[in-house]
């Protein structure tokens, strides 16, 4: 029974082309370890250097988003949004896989319902931008010309969109009165 249950989970992931899956509390140490393994696996598959760098880069930004912003964390979220180091564990789900010949990094975490509209607007803006617009926005944010919380701000998302070879995909589902689940997928 045990093996059957675990194998079914493994097979379900495998059937979707998922090479890596991590669901649980994410920390910077886990980021380091998973990152190493992902690089190693892609290198073994003789993936070209550019793709490896792209996958790794999107992986780092996705993991750091969860670590900093997941609403599912221990201890309970506090007013300030950025995680105070070590003491906080953030829950998220990360998958790296292959689909139609391209790699993707897909990441999901709980967010507060009140943040859905802002995030949706931000990511829609980024998704609809072309490469030149993304480049311009990236620099504006780095220079501090785009106020935090304004449309498109969030340099990590812009970076993901720039590394992605297709428009980013994302959506939300409502979980209850307080929380929604958010997922973001980027193909490289």
């Amino acid at each position: 029974m045990l093996a059957k249950m675990q194998y079914e989970i493994r097979q379900a992931l495998h059937d979707q082309g998922i090479v890596f899956c991590y669901s649980g509390y994410m920390t910077e140490t886990i980021l380091t370890g998973l990152g190493q393994a992902i690089k190693q696996k892609l290198t073994m598959e003789a993936t070209d250097a550019k793709t490896i760098r792209g996958v790794f880069s999107v992986f780092v930004e996705q993991m750091q988003n969860v670590i900093r912003y997941s609403a599912e964390r221990e201890p309970e979220p506090r007013e300030e949004r950025a995680a105070t180091k070590e003491s906080v564990l953030s829950y998220g789900l990360l998958t790296v896989g292959q689909e139609e010949g391209a790699y993707y990094v897909n990441c999901g975490n709980k967010i507060e319902i009140k943040d859905v509209a802002r995030l949706d607007a931000q990511l829609s803006t980024i998704r609809d931008m072309d490469r030149l617009e993304l480049k311009a926005l990236y620099k504006q944010i780095l220079k501090g010309e785009v106020p935090e919380g304004s449309k498109g701000a969030g340099v990590g998302f812009v970076d993901i969109a720039r590394k992605a070879t297709r428009p980013i995909e994302f959506d939300f589902i409502e979980l209850d009165a307080q929380y929604a689940f958010f997922a973001l997928k980027a193909y490289i």
Binding site: E28, S57, V155
Partner: protein, 128 residues
């Protein structure tokens, strides 16, 4: 000012700041857990040192393999500092070294470099 020499780790770059020779370099990968804590003191030391210069020659070498978006803010800050120094009459050269097949790092170099007007910017492809 004492020179700064910090070895690279898996997640943080080598920092090599020689204040006597005015040779500065940053090499490797950069996605430290706490970007402000890692870079803060070194950036402050560099800023203070550069503010005291009004002539002479300054060289800054970037040889990055990867940096995350938070570290990109630090790179931008360094470029701003170097340009301000050049505006005061110091001869500043920025060498952006990248692996020759790394289009992304080349493109990032071009993007940061295009803002430099007074400082000299050089894109330097490096073969393995």
């Amino acid at each position: 000012m004492n020179n700064i020499r910090i070895e690279a780790t898996e997640r943080s770059p080598e920092i090599d700041f020689n204040f006597e020779k005015n040779h500065f370099a940053m090499r490797g990968e950069s996605y430290p857990e706490d970007v402000p804590a890692f870079f803060g003191p070194h950036l402050d030391a560099l800023e203070q040192h550069l503010a005291g210069l009004s002539d002479g020659t300054v060289t800054f070498v970037f040889e990055m393999i990867y940096f995350n978006s938070t570290s990109a803010k630090v790179v931008m800050k360094l470029f701003d500092l170097l340009e301000e120094t050049a505006e005061r009459g110091v001869s500043v050269t920025v060498n952006w070294r990248y692996e020759e097949d790394d289009d992304n790092m080349e493109e990032l170099g071009e993007e940061f470099g295009e803002d430099l007007e007074e400082a000299t910017f050089k894109l330097v492809p490096v073969s393995d």
